[in-house]
């Protein structure tokens, strides 16, 4: 049951969000408004809290303060609104399964408890594979995939959810040029269809080409907005040039 969320102005609203690990803040008082249908990049140096922000938006970590709203509604009821593409490196790729199976896993939230995924889900998975150009690999064990292939599979898994919002964490990391092009094409198609795309990105060069909006993050939100306005050298220096924001007083070295 999809509400007609596409009409709501803001896909994601983050308000006063602070996230801390062991009492060390990794995100400070973040305010962010993601317009529906935008392609937004999140950039910042290492340790800036980019992955944490994604996880907080996904509801995977609990904030110490502030909140996240999805299409104006509380995060808690918003399962299935965001399709997640995690960092490739966090998965164990020697798991015994094949490509089509991984993609079908994207339907598990829809299928519900105990019931098996059926023909409808299988067809959706195959369609998603076709979109990312991996149809020939459907039965390939995932242990045999290259980096670019792995990334495409994870994207297909997200596509199958047909969610209004997509969040991708470093999808272009260590991926070959054709795969990068293929992924961007898919993302553009999604954006054309009115989906909201948020990507944690590491390559500053490609931001003006790939994205409409950008958030510069370094523990706090330095600035966010349209790329043309906000992606300036000054702002970049503010984000990357200064120290990574760490609480000086608490003295704990490790997070």
């Amino acid at each position: 049951m999809k509400m007609n969320d596409a009409n709501y102005a803001w896909a994601i609203e983050v308000e006063d969000l602070t996230v801390a690990y062991a009492d060390q803040p990794v995100l400070w008082d973040i305010d962010l408004q993601v317009p529906t249908g935008v392609k937004m990049a999140i950039i910042g140096p290492n340790g800036a809290g980019k992955s944490t922000l994604v996880k907080a938006a996904m509801g995977l970590v609990k904030p110490v303060a502030g909140e996240v709203r999805i299409f104006g509604r509380s995060r808690d009821g918003a399962e299935g609104q965001i399709a997640y593409v995690p960092q490739r490196s966090t998965l164990s790729w020697d798991f015994p399964t094949d490509v089509i199976d991984v993609v079908t896993m994207g339907t598990y939230g829809r299928v519900g408890w105990i019931r098996r995924s059926g023909t409808a889900e299988k067809m959706q998975a195959e369609a998603a594979l076709e979109q990312v150009g991996m149809t020939d690999f459907a039965r390939r064990p995932i242990a045999e995939l290259s980096g670019g292939q792995q990334q495409r599979v994870l994207l297909a898994r997200a596509l199958v959810q047909d969610a209004p919002i997509y969040m991708l964490d470093e999808p272009f990391q260590g991926v070959d040029a054709p795969t990068e092009r293929a992924i961007i094409e898919v993302l553009n198609d999604l954006a054309h269809a009115g989906k909201t795309i948020i990507v944690v990105h590491h390559d500053l060069q490609t931001i003006p080409e790939y994205f409409d909006a950008v958030l510069l993050l370094n523990v706090r939100a330095i600035v966010s907005g349209p790329v043309s306005e906000v992606f300036t050298e000054e702002n970049l220096r503010l984000t990357f040039g200064g120290r990574v924001g760490v609480l000086a007083a608490s003295g704990a070295g490790e997070v």
Binding site: E15, T18, A20, D31, A65, V219, V246, A249
Partner: protein
């Protein structure tokens, strides 16, 4: 020497001898190798026994040490083949070897002191009855001599290879760079573990060896921060486990080895809870004071962001603060009160304002202490 004193001495010597190599195992995150080795050396001992028919022969020690090293070698071969993950490699090798040992005992040595129960459990209580006799004079329990020698061997080995072992444990990359053969160090450590396990077998059995190798060093790990102290504290804790364990076993008339293992658990739990900085109690206390501190700083950062902006009227009003920050009202009140007490905010009617000091603290919180 009374039998009780003999037993305590054996226990203490065994405990210390085990805790020393155990420290390296804990730090290298290969603690369960001790479990694997202490079980897997069984077939080595049995074969040596069947060949020599002498339970006291030093050949047993050598055979067991060799089997221990073989065990580690097999585990690594399995892991390096990339067919089996590391933890499963351990879980495959030692039960197989142990089973071979048990079957050998059962078939060929069933009626000897080397029975399966004592293998696991040891029998410290019987140790005084097995005296080392030299020239017709009783020189003390054989187990004490054996473990004493092993303890000395371990100490010597650690002293001789101090730098190499420490570096290989704390910084393996650097050690390799400096030309210390990691393989040699690794296998010498494993040999030390095997020999210790064998010596301790007779007295305390395999399970207690594991307890003594892992728990006291882990306890020390919670108490100290540098490497050398960890060794000595670990040894001291191990000795304490031995003495206390024996006391309990004596009082309640139960298994000595089991009591010692249980005491290892008690002391470890005590450290887990009560260690000065890392203990759970200390953590909880610190967390409480930190939470309040963090709350104040979050409040200041929030004020810094929103005061003197258009949204100021809305965001900095005391009553609406708790909604923006998504805090319980009581917490909001507590934090505001603390901030006011520390002169970090001033209140003008309903609106909160960060003072100069408050603003400075907020900026420090975000970007770290300014240099220069």
């Amino acid at each position: 020497m009374t039998p009780e004193l003999q037993i305590v001495l054996i226990a203490v010597v065994t405990a210390v001898a085990a805790a020393l190599p155990g420290t390296y195992l804990v730090l290298r995150r290969t603690a369960l190798v001790s479990d694997a080795i202490s079980h897997a050396i069984l077939p080595g001992i049995v074969v040596a026994f069947l060949l020599t028919h002498d339970l006291n022969s030093p050949i047993l020690l050598v055979a067991a040490a060799a089997t221990g090293v073989l065990t580690v070698f097999l585990i690594e071969a399995l892991f390096r083949s990339r067919l089996v993950p590391e933890d499963a490699s351990i879980g495959l090798v030692f039960p197989a070897l142990f089973s071979i040992g048990v079957i050998l005992i059962s078939r060929y040595a069933g009626d000897v002191h080397l029975d399966t129960d004592s293998v696991l459990l040891g029998e410290l209580a019987l140790a005084p009855f097995d005296q080392m006799v030299i020239g017709g004079v009783e020189m003390g329990p054989r187990a004490l001599w054996t473990m004493g020698v092993i303890l000395v061997l371990n100490l010597v080995m650690i002293a001789l290879a101090w730098k190499e072992l420490k570096l290989a444990t704390v910084d393996p990359g650097l050690a390799a760079l400096l030309g210390f053969s990691p393989v040699a160090i690794h296998y010498s450590l494993m040999a030390m573990v095997s020999i210790t396990a064998v010596g301790a077998f007779d007295a305390v059995g395999s399970i207690l060896v594991v307890a003594l190798m892992i728990a006291p060093p882990a306890t020390a790990y919670l108490l100290v921060d540098r490497f050398a102290p960890m060794l000595w504290v670990g040894a001291a804790v191990a000795a304490a486990c031995a003495i206390l364990g024996f006391a309990i076993a004596y009082a309640l008339d139960v298994s000595i080895a089991g009591s010692m293992a249980a005491m290892c658990g008690v002391l470890f739990t005590a450290a887990l809870l009560l260690a000065p900085r890392r203990g759970l109690v200390a953590q909880a206390r610190r967390r409480n004071s930190q939470r309040l501190d963090l709350g104040v700083r979050m409040l200041l950062v929030h004020l810094l962001h929103h005061q003197e902006t258009e949204a100021e009227i809305e965001e900095c009003r005391v009553p609406s603060l708790h909604r923006h920050l998504q805090w319980a009202e009581s917490r909001t009140r507590q934090v505001v009160r603390e901030a006011e007490q520390r002169d970090l905010v001033s209140r003008v009617g309903d609106l909160l304002n960060a003072t100069a000091e408050g603003k400075r603290l907020a900026e420090v919180a975000i970007v770290g202490e300014p240099t220069g």
